[in-house]
Symmetry: C2
Subunit: 496 residues, 2 copies
């Protein structure tokens, strides 16, 4: 090993140590930290992030990048050097003092968001959000963009994606969704999700969720499940991946489908090639690809007829007696009911993407200066009415429902719908090789997990997102797989 390689490996280990500490602090901040500790912890995160970013933007790093680009090194180091250079350019574009301020700000605003959400009082969050939007505008300028300022942010979450592609793809999806929803409204099939809203004790929901996570192949020796208001998955490293969920004792769907969703993210993180640990590549390749993994498990597995054919008995073993009388077909239709909802994470598969499109449009307007933060609640509520036909009664069930903007993440939301399209495309390809529904019916998820590990998980960031999709499916992003899947599924359920 050359001296430059050794030094580069050491610097990657240091960056990994900071990443792991920051991830753990972030997990703690949302799970177990006592109230008074919250404020002070943001200083700690800010400082450690700053130290990490100093390493990423150091002269030493630049010299190693330049040196290693001339050397004939291993594929992992070669790709890590590419990633290091991308991050070097990215961070160097923003003055480190501003970045630290931004991280400290968002760490604080996350806790303010919790309070604002509880009190349904947007005015608490507004000054923070105004600063966050201004920061993001500056970041977009620093990063640079071709046509639209918003692309300067989007590129961070889904490298290579343009507004043109996004507008076109979302347009295609929107048309199809509106058409399907219209047909469903005219359907004579009665679907009643009300029959699911029976009391289901938290501990029983938890044991069922744990059983499903276990069947999915989640490794509990390398992870855990906790409880938070806003569920998430965090991969501290491949040996320690933590998911959280939220229990609503009057609606088990929140916890069960939430856990399967976060479990999908977790399987990705747990199955990254161990050789990539302590490099810059031991992470999901993009937000969209990450979301494809969670949505694959939540919707294509967890809401499938095959899954419930094989797991309805297990479910009833955990559920209270009041669930016993529910017939399978009623249950299956109920968990797939299409009904506009205020809350994104409670939305059905079909209308979900409309929630995303609303956020996408508002984000673009905020960044391009076409909308002021103070006018956001009204704009949000208006779009909800226009697209979904329902209007939030308060900001808690309106724009305060999601943590993303408070956490400083603008340009993130589109990746959810993108992940959905990737998931459908991967599902179609996997189905050419494995009879997915048959495996699900047998309760054997191992071949599905192995296929995803082989084709997606293990690569970490070794490939670019669009290359990864092309290598696996033989083509670029194609939204028709999702449209076909939704059409088939809901034609069956609603007998369209």
């Amino acid at each position: 090993m050359t001296s430059a390689e050794q030094k580069f490996i050491q610097i990657m280990k240091e960056i990994t140590a900071y990443d792991e500490a920051i991830s753990l602090i972030g997990w703690d901040l949302r799970t177990y930290i006592p109230k008074k500790g919250m404020d002070h912890r943001s200083d700690t995160i800010g400082l450690l992030s700053n130290k990490r970013n100093e390493l990423k933007t150091s002269e030493k790093m630049k010299a190693l990048i330049d040196q290693l680009k001339t050397e004939n090194t291993t594929p992992v180091i070669k790709k890590s050097v590419e990633e290091a250079e991308r991050e070097y350019e990215k961070f160097r574009s923003i003055p480190s003092q501003e970045l630290t301020e931004f991280i400290t700000l968002t760490s604080k605003s996350e806790t303010v968001w919790q309070e604002a959400r509880e009190k349904s009082d947007f005015s608490l969050l507004q000054p923070y959000l105004e600063k966050i939007v201004e920061f993001n505008k500056k970041i977009a300028e620093y990063r640079g963009y071709d046509n639209n300022k918003y692309e300067g942010l989007l590129d961070d979450y889904e490298p290579g994606l343009t507004i043109d592609v996004l507008d076109q793809v979302f347009g295609q999806l929107k048309t199809a969704l509106i058409d399907l929803v219209k047909k469903i409204n005219q359907s004579k099939v009665e679907v009643d999700s009300g029959l699911l809203l029976k009391h289901f004790p938290k501990d029983k929901q938890k044991s069922f969720s744990l059983a499903v996570l276990d069947k999915m192949g989640f490794d509990f020796d390398a992870g855990r499940l906790d409880e938070t208001i806003h569920p998430f998955a965090t991969g501290i490293n491949p040996y320690d991946v933590r998911v959280t969920t939220r229990y609503d004792e009057n609606d088990f769907r929140m916890a069960v489908f939430g856990t399967i969703h976060e479990g999908g993210h977790a399987l990705y993180e747990q199955n990254i090639d161990p050789d990539l640990h302590q490099t810059l590549l031991a992470d999901g390749v993009s937000m969209g690809i990450h979301e494809s993994q969670s949505l694959f498990w939540e919707n294509f597995v967890g809401r499938s007829r095959a899954f419930w054919e094989s797991h309805f008995d297990l479910f009833k073993d955990h559920a209270p007696k009041s669930f016993e009388a529910i017939e399978f077909d009623h249950f299956y239709r109920a968990i797939n009911e299409v009904k506009p909802s205020m809350i994104r994470i409670e939305a059905d598969e079909l209308t979900y993407s409309l929630h995303i499109i609303i956020r996408y449009e508002l984000e673009k307007e905020l960044i391009n200066g076409d909308l002021a933060v103070k006018d956001l609640p009204e704009a949000w509520n208006q779009k909800m009415e226009d697209y979904l036909g329902i209007k939030p009664a308060n900001d808690s069930e309106g724009l305060l429902q999601d943590i993303h903007w408070s956490a400083g993440d603008i340009g993130y939301f589109p990746t959810y719908a993108l992940g959905y399209m990737y998931a459908a495309q991967l599902h179609a390809k996997m189905n050419d090789e494995i009879d997915i529904d048959n495996m699900i019916r047998l309760g054997d998820f191992e071949p599905l997990k192995q296929w995803l590990t082989e084709n997606i998980h293990r690569h970490g960031k070794m490939k670019k997102p669009l290359d990864l999709i092309r290598d696996v499916t033989g083509e670029g992003l194609n939204p028709t797989y999702l449209i076909d899947y939704l059409t088939n599924k809901y034609t069956d359920i609603y007998q369209l």
Copy 2:
């Protein structure tokens, strides 16, 4: 504020950030981390510790110390500079590479210890412990000492303490303890702790422990209680202080007195003057003083007649029905039974110090090369027989019971007995000003907590340990307070 002051404050903030991250990781490592994550986390701790130590030993730090010693600055900065200089000298004495190796080693050996303890297999730990002893010998040489190599380690935990003083004080205590134990053996009073060994469900023990912590004045908005094999308290900062306890469903004393003990440590950390946060002084002044706080609450409050006079009803409210018939006097004597025990943390007040003296003597021999690690189990067992008249059946209840040596801490144990003497001395002084037993009987602990905060807690590391004791009690360390207290208490209980 001068430029040097500003830079020094910034560097202290950075050190604090590392300290907090390391403390949180340490807490997680003992509470919630999944199994496979453990091994890899030690790399993270090693690296962050190294970064922190680099700051403490940096040329920049040295220049700031030298500059600030010439400036007329605030008392807090002046004292912080003294502390920075002490740490600078301390760390500079040890090559940083060796220190990192040591930290990584001990982080690993802590997890090996857990396994060795579970399997009662000392051979698993032996190679780690051999390395730890060799490291500590080197550290003692690097640090320097006057008469005995062991002092090079001891000084780290209790600055200023010498082997001469320790030998003399422990000698005095040992004589008194042997005399008391002898008299107790001849006593006709029957004490039966067996009546306490009834099944007591974990959740009920927990709710009683939480109620007591609350009455002590533990701030749950600035702390929490969790469960671990080896209980501890960790002050991440004054706003986030976490204690742990261990539940034995067949012996509630483990959890109840353990929680009160750790709660005493926690009150110290929670009540350090907020002005000291993010300086080098926001910590207990020495291990001995820290232990005086935990032992004050555990023994002088928690095992007092007055405490149980006022809390026996609360206890019975939480305890199962099988406890109902126990008479108060039987109960009070039972929780104060003197009976040699294998396990230090289960030992009674009286024989406890003998456990410490055994560890002290063995440590001294290990460091001075008079005892090999491989011969430790035999030496341990022999001393247990000689001093306490009982011999461990296996190493789990022998030398594998404590985490300290596995964690690299040699020279720490004496501070437990020292803390006991400090506690008795503080208790006597406090009693001159407050009728302690009367307040306890009223269930009003606030004056006790306030006295301790005023005289001990708030000062953090602003004073040296012996100065602190002298300022509060008007004299130096005096073991007769402890001897008098034990003599009075056990003369009453056993009618000597």
